[in-house]
Amino acid sequence: MADQNKTGGAENFYNEILSPCELFAARSRSHKIPARGQKDFYPDDSEEQRQRLQQSLDEHWNLIAEERVERLGNLVKATWVPSDQIVELQTPAGKFWQTMGFSAEVKQYLLPEEALYLMECGNLLVFHQDLPLSIQDGYEMFLSSDAMSLQQYQVFGHLKRLGYVVHRFDPSSEPSSYVRQLNLPQSRERGGRQLKRKRSPSPTPTCSHTKTPGESLAEKMEDDDKLPESHLMTSAEPPEPQTASPHSAAKGQARTWWMMDAPELEADKRSSPGSPSGRLRWNFSTIPFPDLGSTSRPRCMVPVDTSLLPRDVTVGVCDLDSWMRKINLRKVKMSVKEQQREKHRRRWDVNKDREVQRCRNWAEYHELLARRQAKRQGRPAHLWNREVKPLHDPTQPISTAELLEKISVVKSTNLLEGASRLKCSEEWRICFNVYQPDSVADFKKSNPGKPYSRMCVCSFDGPVPDLRVIKQLAFQSGNVPIVYAVVDYGDISFYTFKDFQLPRDVYA
């Protein structure tokens, strides 16, 4: 029949076609591969080395030159449909149908890379224009840079030969981040494993506390309620009516109604805090405020000065008893020390304090009290009242772990942080879903379940994936790890990037 290199004539028909005799004899071929021996270190032109080399080469050429021979009945026949870039089966599919191919209408189809792999395994015979395709034809027709490139097919073939189930990755079939957030039971998931969506990091708690105003208020109450109201009456200067902030001008006005007539307000703005600002409407020294709580109280009240009352209002005698019943009149039991302290405090006049005198209004007085409080507590104003505050108040308890968190300059992050905002890159995309070999027995194409990993194919000639690409692809993949298959001519290396937490020598 046809042999190698029939020379002569205008037409040379070069092929490696076997004669029917050879085809028939192929039944009894061995299926074993000879094992490779030890390699030598250096060529020394010895006969022994030359012989070993020749033997290795001969073995090598025998294996390489061997052609695939199959029984026609064992082969599945198919045709190549170039318009759809798909292979349509003409005879029923074999065992490979469990993990490869798809049906549409009544027919069975294979993707080009699946068909090419089956051709290489000797299971499939693909026809085009009624002629059988060689493996070379398959490579040249099925592989192109748009659908499935040669490098991607190399990775595909490598994994398939190891037994993995490899499918093309379809980004649209992946649940969106919103769906994942909802944590819906995935219909495609096997085993019903819920996706745990990592919560976005909560904003770091601000360490500055603003408890001083409230505290100062409470303290002020504590300070003041022991003092009889008469002390308040005799403040040396009336506090400055106007406060600095414009929005409390109305409040300021409201507070000063007892002081002066409204038209006088203008003049007061300009007056200094030290001097008395305008006439006092009332003389507070002549208006007694009854102190019903003190021990030396009168059982009756001084009648009201009618000049102070509005017209047409009369006031009867006040029944004190009902009011007295509402007051807690129990005497406070104090130790000697406390009694001494109490006496000391009653003697001390807060109005004699210079700093207090400098306060023009209640707001300033509150501030003074807050400052004093802070100083007492070890929170000096020059540290705590500025924009740059200490990270932590040393008097407050804190665990070592939290303290380390506070002082850390570089905060650790996880791979998916900020990944949802990234747009898809043009050059990098996930190519394949890979499922493990031992799942082949109960593998269902309609419901494959969660892949073992996802492949992204690149080469050593090209760029290394940067953080942006890694984040974006990891986000797109969800909870399935991504493996980067790097192709270097004949070799394929697999790399994966894993999240890693730096160990901290702290037990929180």
Partner: protein
């Protein structure tokens, strides 16, 4: 039918028997140069170009340790071939309708012939098996009687024998059977072939180093996994280990110390010497080897 995406249209020239002349048929797949024909692989190897096998091995397709055809060439290997006028493009899939019809007819005829021949062979095989079975069972007994019985059996076998088409052994060819044309066509190749990659200084440096080392008789393969450009073998990789990892740099390129350290570390871990190679303007190549030594 639309054009296949990647093959060439030019034809190749007659192949010569001796391995010393380098003419091989290249075919492009997704713009990568592949060799398909067994003779081409042998030729290329005999000229100390290794390449990389990509396909499944026909004998045992489901393993990755030993692969089969096609052979992928590195850009440097392809360039060396072309500069020595050794590469030509293989014929494409025949798109011509008339030619296709002729091929179809030829294929049908061949299949039929094959069926007939194999049928005969199968029958012979069965007869032999029957003979062996009968003579062994009958033992030393021989005579006209047993002969007759034998003849009867053989006749019956022949009459009842059928060789169905499904039993036909067919070949799934690796390389495409093609027509080769005469020598003038080869000259077209150099002009027609598009330049796939832009020539960067790095690429050029790589090629200069490759050519120099290859010219000295070394075998070179790709060394991406070893952090270098080439693995340099003193002899055929089937029999020898690589001695060097060649890292190609241009003469004026500055290299970071960390890179030097990392490649030196790698080299010492895999027991290979690292070679820093730079082509000089006069055509020679400067080599610097890195050796990890202690304080002496």
């Amino acid at each position: 039918m639309e054009a296949p995406p990647c093959s060439q249209v030019e034809e190749l020239q007659q192949e010569q028997e001796h391995g010393s002349s380098l003419v091989v048929g290249l075919s492009l797949c997704d713009s990568a140069p592949l060799l398909w024909r067994f003779q081409d692989l042998k030729t290329v190897r005999s000229n100390s170009l290794v390449g990389a096998l990509l396909g499944s091995l026909p004998r045992t397709p489901r393993q990755n340790i030993r692969l089969g055809r096609p052979l992928l060439l590195m850009p440097e290997e392809e360039r060396v071939l072309r500069e020595h006028h050794g590469a030509a493009a293989l014929s494409a899939w025949n798109q011509d309708a008339a030619g296709a019809a002729e091929l179809r007819q030829r294929y049908e005829e061949e299949q039929q012939r094959s069926l007939e021949e194999q049928s005969i062979l199968a029958l012979e095989d069965r007869k032999l098996a029957l003979l062996r079975a009968m003579t062994s069972s009958s033992g030393s007994e021989s005579g006209a009687g047993s002969d007759e019985a034998l003849q009867c059996r053989l006749l019956a076998l022949e009459q009842n024998f059928s060789f169905p088409r499904s039993a036909l052994a067919v070949q799934l060819s690796t390389a495409r059977a093609g027509l080769s044309h005469c020598q003038e066509a080869c000259a077209f190749l150099e002009a027609d072939r598009p330049i796939r990659e832009q020539d960067s200084p790095r690429r050029d440096a790589r090629y200069q180093v490759f050519r120099d080392l290859w010219g000295r008789g070394f075998f070179l393969t790709s060394a991406g996994k070893f952090g270098g450009d080439f693995l340099v073998y003193p002899g055929d990789p089937l029999r020898f280990h690589a001695h060097f990892i060649a890292v190609c740099l241009t003469l004026d390129e500055s290299i970071c110390m960390l890179d030097v350290l990392s490649v030196a570390r790698l080299g010492s871990n895999v027991k290979k010497t690292v070679l820093l190679c730079s082509p000089a303007p006069d055509g020679s190549v400067h080599y610097t080897s890195l050796q990890w030594s202690g304080m002496m």
